[in-house]
């Protein structure tokens, strides 16, 4: 191994690490301090009738965080201009009145959630039950609004009835209603992560540095280890990998008329078809559906393409492996890197669609670097794992065909996450692809950084799979040639 070049490369890697850490801090720092949370509401299916003077409506709410900052209310105006005042009062479990605020009825939108920020954030306990009381002044029949209520949740095209306890139902003048009011409470949760951020970053760096130092010492004594593999990959085999990647890329579209344009066209066409099909199939409660869809398609396509390319890398290069010596990991790594080039090209139409739909380009887009790195590590791990399996059992490729299809349906690519029944959500969120795609969507569509937990999930899932892949591959690589 070339120690001088390796030293340079490790220095560069360390610099990249700190640059990425700083980038995340600058872009996402505010969101590490606190995070906005909102309680859920049922879907609207009925109205409570005109809110006129003398009517008292109550509804219990769960405080979403330590600070409750506002309400969102789904009102109906009967399609006319109404006047008067709506008084919003909130009391806590102890019966103490936390808020009494008047809202001009004219400010309420028809059939849409209207956000009502509080003059000052309310100190609440998270999970505490608050009682909302609504009364009006200056509203008479023919000049009044109504509030939507419901007892179902939307799951795709269907509405699923929910069981609601009596305590959760709204009341009108003390009489129990059919369900809950369409009201959401929003709040701000403070996070301690902000404080610990640099400690965690430095800690991870320290651990990596200790490992590297140990491996470096071993390498000086001529021992082979992970560090040596990574360094020689960069210093000695970079040219070879570049050649192999450019070979894959050049031959892929060599005989097609449109050539490289297929890399853009493919995701665009898939998106168009799915957009037409699914925008009529699902209630359009997804904000910015074209971008939502295309993000899912581009990210998932990269995953499935790279993994299947990586999977066949050893069996597909059998003739080469039997005749030329090079480290075995070169094969899956180069295949996956060529998929990465394809992925980079497929991101271009994503940006185009963002421009067309008027999605703003915000600094949070830079966080995609982190997301893509995690995805790449995950894909690398999967590729190494499957190519090992594939060498011993050719059935793997057919099995993978089925598994990747199931995986696709388990990931919210074209459907909204809200169709998943609540009891499966925890399990559903464990899907790493869900994590990477949701991460990307938050960065692209919402223009925000995901919560710290999302970062942690991305790192953990990718590192776990990568480590597993590397270990399994390394243990078996000497046997590959005997099975080809």
């Amino acid at each position: 191994m070339d120690f001088k070049k390796s030293k340079k490369m490790l220095g560069l890697l360390a610099a990249c690490y700190w640059a990425l850490a700083l980038l995340v801090y600058l872009v996402a720092g505010v969101q590490f301090r606190y995070t906005a949370v909102e309680s859920n509401a049922l879907s609207a299916s009925a109205v409570i009738g005109e809110m006129v003077d003398g009517m008292t409506v109550t509804q219990t709410l769960t405080a979403p965080a330590e600070q409750t900052t506002g309400l969102e209310l789904l009102a109906g105006t009967f399609g006319r201009a109404n006047s008067g005042m709506l008084r919003i009062a909130l009391t806590n479990e102890a019966g103490k009145t936390l808020l009494a605020q008047d809202v001009d009825v004219a400010a309420l939108a028809d059939g849409k959630y209207t956000s009502i920020p509080f003059a000052a954030p309310l100190g609440t306990k998270r999970g505490e039950t608050l009682t909302l009381t609504l009364t009006t002044t200056g509203c008479a029949p023919g000049n009044a609004v109504t509030i939507y209520c419901g007892n179902t949740v939307t799951a795709g095209r269907f509405d699923i009835a929910q069981t609601i306890t009596d305590a959760d139902r709204y009341t009108v003048n003390g009489e129990m209603g059919i369900g809950k009011l369409c009201v959401k409470a929003s709040g701000v949760r403070t996070l301690t992560f902000y404080r610990d951020y640099w400690f965690i970053i430095a800690g991870a760096f320290g651990v990596a540095a200790i490992f590297c130092a140990r491996w470096w010492k071993q390498a000086k004594q001529g021992k082979n280890n992970l560090l040596v593999a990574v360094c020689t990959l960069q210093t000695r085999y970079a040219f070879l990998i570049r050649q192999l990647v450019s070979r894959d890329f050049k031959t892929k579209y060599k005989r097609s008329v449109l050539g490289m344009a297929w890399s853009f066209l493919n995701p665009l066409l898939t998106m168009s078809v799915q957009y037409i099909v699914f925008s009529t199939l699902f209630k359009s409660d997804i904000e910015n559906y074209p971008v939502y869809l295309l993000t899912g398609i581009v990210f998932f396509n990269f995953f499935s393409e790279a993994v299947s390319m990586g999977m066949t890398s050893i069996t597909g290069n059998a003739s080469l492996i039997k005749k030329v010596y090079m480290p075995k990991y070169i094969y899956p790594v180069s295949r996956i890197l060529s998929s990465l080039v394809n992925f980079a090209l497929a991101i271009i139409p994503l940006f185009l669609v963002m421009i067309v739909t008027g999605t703003a380009f915000r600094p949070s887009l830079l966080l995609l670097v982190f997301d893509i790195l995690c995805l790449l590590a995950f894909v690398m791990g999967m590729g190494l794992l499957l190519t090992t399996a594939m060498t011993f059992f050719q059935d793997t490729q057919f099995l993978w065909g089925v598994v990747s299809m199931i995986w696709m349906y388990l990931t919210p690519i074209f459907y909204p996450e809200s169709i998943i029944p609540a009891q499966f959500l925890t399990l559903y969120h464990m899907n790493p692809m869900y994590q990477y795609i949701t991460f990307a969507r938050i960065c692209i569509i919402d223009g925000l950084s995901p919560e710290p937990m999302a970062y942690l999930w991305c790192i953990l899932s990718s590192l776990a799979v990568l480590t597993l892949g590397v270990v399994v591959f390394k243990r078996n690589q000497d046997k590959f040639v005997l099975h080809l």
């Binding site: 040219f239 050649q243 070979r247 060599k254 080469l320 030329v324 090079m326 059992f393 005997l482």
Partner: protein, 242 residues
């Protein structure tokens, strides 16, 4: 003198299932029927020899004696089941020419691809590019895809790329006859030039005259075992008798 190649007690054992099982279903069925038997096949048994710096060592033996397996073990393609192989310096194994050629790419692109696969550096290839093209005599077709080449042209290009390097250790598996008579002579000259230039060479050939002419020492392999190892003439004489 310094040992460039050191082969110590190398045993190469292949485990061959009666039918090669490559699917989980087959595996399960074979296992259930109790038919999962392996027969072990020893391609090399306890082979030891060494090649010193600047020496030309020949490897002879009948078909299936383990010559190619031995070369593959030394090149690092196969890992020995037992024993060890140590090679000092950079090795250029010429086991099969043109490995990794892509028929859809041009001659020029293939020079760089194949060169990279053989372990050449980028700047070395750039420096030697003209030499490779000139030696292979395919200048007018260099920007055409390889699938339009004749097989002789492909072989010539492959030979030119493989032999452009002057390695410390050269491992050759009968690659000397490529192309037409004129090119064959030219390629033989190049091989001679490489072998006589102080390079350490280990090569397999069925031509006794070539072996006698070029080698200092000879390893005679028979059924995976070293039958004789020593002076070229002596071993060759033994081989011809036996």
């Amino acid at each position: 003198m310094e040992n460039m190649i050191e082969v110590q007690n190398v045993t190469m054992r292949f485990r061959m299932a009666n039918d090669r099982i490559s699917s989980i279903k087959e595996y399960a069925i074979a296992k259930l029927r109790g038919k999962l038997q392996y027969s072990e096949f020893e391609a090399l048994k306890n082979v030891s020899f060494d090649v010193k710096r600047g020496e030309v060592v020949g490897l002879i033996g009948h078909n299936g004696a383990g010559k190619s397996t031995m070369l593959k073990v030394i090149s690092g393609i196969l890992k020995p089941t037992e024993g060890s192989v140590r090679v000092a310096g950079n090795v250029a194994p010429m086991l099969e020419l043109g490995s990794g050629f892509d028929m859809d790419m041009t001659g020029r692109e293939n020079i760089f691809l194949n060169g990279a696969i053989l372990g050449y550096s980028e700047e070395f290839l750039k420096r030697k590019y003209d030499e490779i093209v000139a030696f292979s005599e395919i200048e007018p077709f260099i920007d055409m895809p390889l699938r339009n080449y004749s097989s002789g042209m492909v072989a010539r290009l492959a030979f030119s790329i493989a032999t452009v390097v002057v390695p410390e250790v050269l491992i050759v598996d009968e690659v000397l006859s490529v192309g037409d008579a004129a090119f064959q002579e030219k390629s033989l000259m190049r091989m001679m030039e490489l072998m006589s230039g102080g390079t350490t060479v280990l090569f397999v050939s069925h031509s006794q005259s070539q072996i006698r002419k070029m080698c200092n020492r000879v390893v005679w392999l028979e059924h995976g075992q070293v039958q004789a190892f020593g002076d070229a003439r002596e071993v060759c004489a033994l081989y011809e008798k036996g």
